[in-house]
């Protein structure tokens, strides 16, 4: 065991897989010698060799497409898109190609690639370093979408993603890279070492895709969250003094519907939270599923707390970010309904 931040755990996951499987290789903008703008691949080129971890031209479409070609050959490429906000030039290759290759060739060709990308707000990155575009990927048949919330899961889920035979979009909450940010932006951020999930085994292990975790058990209301918002939800429950059950989805597609349904059937209430814009966000899907599966057990309307339907504005970071106060207000409303 070692104590790791999320960025160290991700680095360690890639280190582990480079050592374990010669077909794993990593490329992306600035990931080689430099080790990535967030240091996720720090030291990997030096340790594993230049053809295992190298810089790519600034061409997201090319990065995704090259990974598809490599995956079709039989490799397991792990690519980094420097910020989720810069994924769009690669969108056609992801949606029309990677996602459908297995289907259109009836399994003749597959694209077992992993696309890692930092996402989410809270860093004064304005509209081009703060977005949460997960719903653009969960909407696409053939893709898996994974979002960890702590170092232990980050490593285990990334290893599962790399070993998965389908393309996986792996969004990393950059606000959690170096500390456990819970949305109280005026307070100092808790270090990861203070959190049990920073105990990370150094060798190989995995956290299976498609399994949620219960971040906090409770009876009063179920909160569905992922990424940074797991910690915001925990802070909100504490702030509102509400016995919420916080579910960390970990994988959005395929979704762990059993865990969600069992929890909502128990609590009878549900609040869905995400940083992404509200309209057509993943919360809409969650809300519809809960309604379909738990309608007769629901005692209050399902609430959604999400980013406003605007681009992410530089000057209004904390009005935009759905922090603990907004989540707490929704929890309270749900209990009063």
């Amino acid at each position: 065991m070692a104590t790791m931040t999320m960025i160290q755990a991700l680095n360690n996951a890639m280190d582990t897989m480079l050592a374990k499987d010669p077909d794993v290789l990593i490329f992306g903008e600035d990931v080689g010698y430099f080790g990535g703008v967030f240091r996720a691949t720090d030291g990997l080129q030096k340790k594993h060799g230049i053809t295992r971890c190298f810089d790519a031209p600034i061409a997201e479409s090319g990065i995704v497409a090259a990974a598809i070609g490599m995956a079709a050959y039989g490799l397991r490429p792990v690519i980094e898109i420097q910020f989720a906000d810069y994924i769009y030039p690669g969108y056609d290759q992801i949606v029309s190609e990677a996602a459908r290759l297995r289907y259109r060739s009836a399994g003749d060709f597959t694209a077992p690639l992993t696309l890692r990308s930092p996402y989410g707000g809270g860093i004064f990155g304005g509209q081009t370093h703060s977005q949460s575009p997960e719903a653009l990927f969960t909407h696409v048949a053939g893709l898996k979408t994974v979002i960890p919330s702590n170092p232990y899961d980050a490593k285990g889920l990334l290893i599962s993603a790399i070993e998965d035979d389908d393309p996986v979009i792996f969004f990393e909450p950059k606000r959690l890279y170096s500390g456990r940010f819970d949305g109280w932006h005026e307070k100092p951020v808790e270090t990861w070492s203070a959190h049990p999930a920073s105990d990370v085994p150094e060798g190989y292990y995995n956290v299976p895709l498609g399994k949620a975790a219960i971040a906090r058990e409770g009876q009063a209301v179920t909160v569905l969250a992922y990424g940074t918002m797991v910690h915001v939800a925990l802070a909100a429950a504490e702030f509102a003094k509400i016995d919420a059950e916080v579910i960390d989805l970990r994988t959005l597609v395929p979704l762990d519907i059993e865990t969600i349904v069992a929890s909502v059937n128990k609590t009878g209430r549900c609040v869905v939270v995400h940083e992404a814009t509200r309209t057509s966000g993943f919360g809409a899907e969650l809300s519809a599923l809960v309604q379909e599966h738990c309608f007769w057990k629901l005692e209050a309307p399902i609430e959604r707390v999400a980013g406003w339907d605007t681009p992410y504005p530089h000057a209004f970071e904390w009005e935009y970010f759905p922090g603990p106060k907004r989540v707490a207000a929704a929890l309270t409303r749900t209990l009063e309904a």
Partner: protein, 414 residues
């Protein structure tokens, strides 16, 4: 017997380009072999793209080591224009230094300098008409100085304060100034290049006489958008100047990662049938001459030009970057093409139109100008101290605010 040319004669190996020197190595710029100033010929502006191919592998240079302007590309500018260019470059440098320091003091979130590259946007702005539209990246702030955009307004943008013309919505240095022929800067690389082509096509469609001028980094030429821009510019003979600012680095990636080891960036033009020019980007006169050449071509319906400006990014990529982690610390000082400010200063002195004393006075003058503007902007407020009203977060998403945004605004209580 097996044909040695058949497969498996030797096994394949994957090539990954690497720069000549990394931290700890001595800087190695032996591949930079600039020809003497004045040597590169100047074709007629009506030359065909086919006849211009060689220009992709030459280097347009006007200022020689002695500070004299020589050869066919000398734009023969009057002393007043030269001094104006020097002033804009010095102002840019003073502004960059100040705003960099402000970021370091926590007064804003981010800043990007253009140190060493000031001649390119400055000479371009002076060679263009004021109403030609510029579609830039984040490193051509000098265009705004050259067009007398108020410094204080730029600072207000950097601080996202109550007087920010972008209303707090953009990260620092993402200016927008339509009245000054300056298109809204995007954080997404290379997107502006095909947009500039479209603007130029519109100008041609309207039988206007304005042209478009766009700038993209060496690294960002790898994006599909750059190549689409080249195709559209070529197909429609768009009146546009496409400038590749090859400053050798794209964050930590040397230009070889963008394909610069195999050929020049100017040579990209050849495949599209667009005339290329390759210019010493630290030579104010050479840049001016090249832009003037391309502008004349565009204005006379002869279509686009691709110009590679060969230069060097002297500072880090941005305030978030530490370049000593990936390149030798001494590399910027070793750049063989010198400093654009020093070279223009030397030239003005050589022609008897400048002196060290006047230069010092000018440096002081621009520093004062920056300081005065900074006082004014800081009186309005730095990041977080002052900002537009929160309800403006919900404005300009659409022309009319739909019901759902109105409701979200009310929920936030603004």
């Amino acid at each position: 017997m097996k044909n040695p040319l058949m497969k498996n004669a030797t096994s394949l190996s994957l090539r990954i380009p690497t720069p000549k020197a990394r931290p700890g190595d001595p800087a190695d710029l032996s591949h930079v072999n600039p020809p003497p100033a004045g040597e590169t010929p100047r074709p007629d502006v009506s030359a065909s793209a086919h006849d211009m191919r060689d220009m992709a592998f030459k280097l347009v240079r006007v200022l020689n080591d002695a500070g004299e302007a020589v050869g066919p590309w000398n734009p023969a500018l009057d002393a007043q224009t030269l001094r104006r260019g020097l002033r804009v470059m010095l102002l840019t440098r003073a502004f960059d230094d100040r705003m960099y320091r402000m970021q370091r003091q926590g007064k804003t979130s981010f800043y990007m300098k253009s140190t060493g590259e000031e001649a390119i946007p400055t000479a371009a702005a002076l060679a263009l008409e004021k109403d030609d539209m510029c579609f830039t990246s984040y490193r051509q702030q000098a265009i705004l100085f050259a067009r007398d955009y108020p410094l204080v307004t730029m600072m207000n943008q950097i601080y996202s304060n109550a007087a920010d013309p972008n209303r707090g919505r953009q990260m620092p240095v993402h200016y927008s100034a339509k009245q000054y022929g300056f298109f809204s800067i995007s954080g997404n690389l290379a997107t502006q290049v095909p947009q500039a082509v479209g603007w130029a096509m519109a100008s041609a469609y309207k039988k206007d006489n304005r042209i478009a001028c766009t700038f993209v980094g060496d690294g960002a030429t790898a994006e599909g958008d750059f190549h689409q821009a080249m195709t559209f510019a070529s197909v429609y003979h768009a009146p546009v100047i496409i400038n590749v600012v090859n400053n050798q680095w794209a964050i930590s990636s040397f230009q070889g990662i963008a394909g610069g080891d195999e050929t020049t960036f100017a040579a990209r033009a050849i495949g599209y049938g667009v005339p290329p020019l390759r210019v010493d980007g630290n030579d104010f006169l050479a840049v001016y001459g090249a832009i003037a050449w391309a502008a004349e071509r565009a204005r006379t319906n002869m279509g686009p030009t691709l110009i590679e400006h060969y230069t060097y990014r002297v500072e880090g990529h941005s305030t978030s970057d530490d370049p000593t982690r990936y390149r030798p610390a001494e590399e910027p000082r070793r750049w063989p093409l010198g400093d654009p400010v020093e070279r223009l200063k030397q030239h003005l002195i050589v022609i008897g139109e400048w002196s060290d004393a006047r230069h010092k006075a000018l440096e002081k003058e621009v520093a004062e100008e920056v300081k005065t503007a900074a006082k004014e902007a800081e009186a309005i407020g730095t990041l977080g101290q002052s900002r537009p009203s929160v309800k403006e977060m919900f404005e300009d998403v659409y022309k009319e605010q739909p019901w759902h945004l109105r409701r979200q605004r009310q929920e936030l209580g603004t």
